[in-house]
Amino acid sequence: MLEAALEHLVKGIVEHPDDVEVDSRTNRRGQTLEVRVHPDDLGKVIGRGGRTARALRTVITSIGGKGIRVDVVDTDEVH
């Protein structure tokens, strides 16, 4: 449900909604939702000074609980 909510929130604000992907990972530190978008949309999802990524985090932790992390994955940085 949280993944679907995050996916929906991100898809609505990007140029390439079909390229939005949200994966959930759980380790002993808790749940992390990883967001991947089209490289051209990275700036949009992060926002000026990280403002948009922060807004996404605020909404998701509010719905799902404080322990949940939201990471916007910079696909350009993948080795």
């Binding site: 449900m1 929906h8 604000i13 605020t58 509010s62 719905i63």
Partner: protein, 189 residues
């Protein structure tokens, strides 16, 4: 517009004839964006409503959407009980959702949106509280003839206080400091 939409495939219709009724859907909305500012705001409300409605569906929260245009901005309200999670402490989640909703609107219209979102009547209550606060402090400033500073507030909240102070003779207000710690100062004139 009393005529029915013309058949777009009508071979007798000269291309680019003025007064052509745009087809329904996206094209119609965008065509009206340029000439009717109100239509832009109604369209903003519709896009925002879709975005938020789907979110409510996914997280399974009950809420009714109320779309309106107030002055020069679209206003969307999610009405319902048990929406406190979407408001957050001091309205932080509400502000975040408003930000995302504005971006979703901008993504479709190509124009920056100043849409206002309210959830569970939070902003309406906050407006009433801040109007009361602004009025009370302005009276104190009048009596003491000394400036007074209020706690840091977001732009919406400061505007409410400025509006309240503007209605009182002998005082004026200004904002000082840097976001997110910008605050209102009320000074005697």
């Amino acid at each position: 517009m009393t005529e029915a939409a013309p058949d777009r495939t009508d071979p007798l219709r000269p291309p680019g004839e003025p007064g052509l009724t745009p087809p329904n859907g996206e094209g119609a909305a965008i065509a009206s964006l340029t000439d009717r500012p109100d239509a832009v705001l109604v369209k903003e409300g519709d896009i925002a409503g879709d975005y938020l409605e789907r979110l409510l569906d996914i997280v399974d929260y009950d809420g009714d959407l109320d779309m309106d245009v107030q002055g020069d901005r679209a206003v969307v309200a999610i009405v319902g009980d048990r929406l406190t999670k979407l408001v957050g402490s001091n309205g932080a989640t509400l502000d975040a959702l408003q930000e995302l909703t504005r971006l979703a609107v901008q993504q479709q219209t190509g124009v920056r949106s100043r849409l206002m979102l309210d959830i569970g009547g939070y902003r309406a209550r906050r407006r009433a509280d801040l109007t009361r606060l602004g009025t009370k402090v302005a009276r104190e400033v009048l009596t003491a003839a000394e400036p007074a500073s209020l706690a840091p507030m977001n732009p919406f909240e400061r505007k409410v206080v400025h509006d309240a102070v503007a209605g009182i003779d002998g005082v004026r207000s200004e904002s000082e400091g840097v976001e997110p710690d910008r605050y209102v100062v009320i000074v005697p004139t």
